[in-house]
Symmetry: C2
Subunit: 158 residues, 2 copies
């Protein structure tokens, strides 16, 4: 962990503090770094933007991809002030950065009443036993679209 | 499952087809329903918008929240043409709709090469053993922000 890496994390922590102080949302910040430079920054804006997906990591990932004109973060590192929740972890896997640094962990988050662990637990519960009810319908009709996709010649895969 | 519910899912499937045909992204669609009416629609736009988070469910959830001026989808039902990936499942838990209907499942998605199961598996791997490397740094410095959050009087909790 070099001084430079520490400074990227310190920027993520500063963004967490800034968002909190300005009532943007929860106390979380993140930056995306490529080739030794910050290319995007984000802080939680859930409550101020009425967007439950506006977590720091999602905000920073979307901005970085916009800047890079790419839906992939190859060669990038994400610094986030807290271990990503399942939503953000999923977003990270779809964006595929090279590496992630985090500061606080999910236990620390739970202690300030952001219960990511509850969602982690629900992911492991079979779909019929979750606290939000999930029902499957019309699978056959939806599969018809998948069949067309497989045969589509001009698709962009990811 | 009433005819009306079927029609909401058919709309989600039609959106999947529409997005695919217009090269917006993968073949996935979703709608959010409140009080018997569709209040938002989404289809996958990952590759056309260079946004790895622009899955059908995330697009529909963001639009629904914007319309409702709320970061919660209380009283809403989500219809999605495919079982949500971990990112979208996380978003659903943060948005807290009453119920989710899905059509295809994660196995069907894997068969057309959208490997949500890989991400589900990674969520269960301990953080030090994941395929994307995660390292913890500066936890103590980040915890200082959490300590201020706990004592903050004017925060909006969620």
């Amino acid at each position: 962990m070099s001084i430079k890496n520490n400074n990227f994390m310190r920027r993520a922590i500063a963004l967490a503090k800034h968002g909190m102080e300005n009532n943007a949302g929860g106390p979380f910040g993140a930056v995306v770094v490529k080739e030794g430079k910050i290319i995007s920054e984000g802080f939680n804006r859930v409550t101020s933007k009425n967007d439950p997906t506006a977590h720091a990591e999602i905000v920073a990932i979307r901005k970085a991809c916009e800047k890079l004109n790419s839906f992939q973060l190859t060669g990038c590192t994400i610094y986030t002030s807290c271990e990503p929740c399942p939503m953000c972890l999923g977003a990270i896997y779809w964006a595929r950065p090279d590496k992630v640094y985090y500061a606080c962990n999910r236990v620390d988050a739970a202690e300030i009443e952001f219960d990511d662990q509850f969602i982690y637990n629900e992911l492991d519960v079979s779909i019929e036993n979750r606290q939000i009810k999930f029902d499957q319908v019309l699978r056959e009709e939806a599969l018809e679209v998948f069949k067309v996709w497989i045969q589509k010649n001009d698709k962009t895969e990811y």
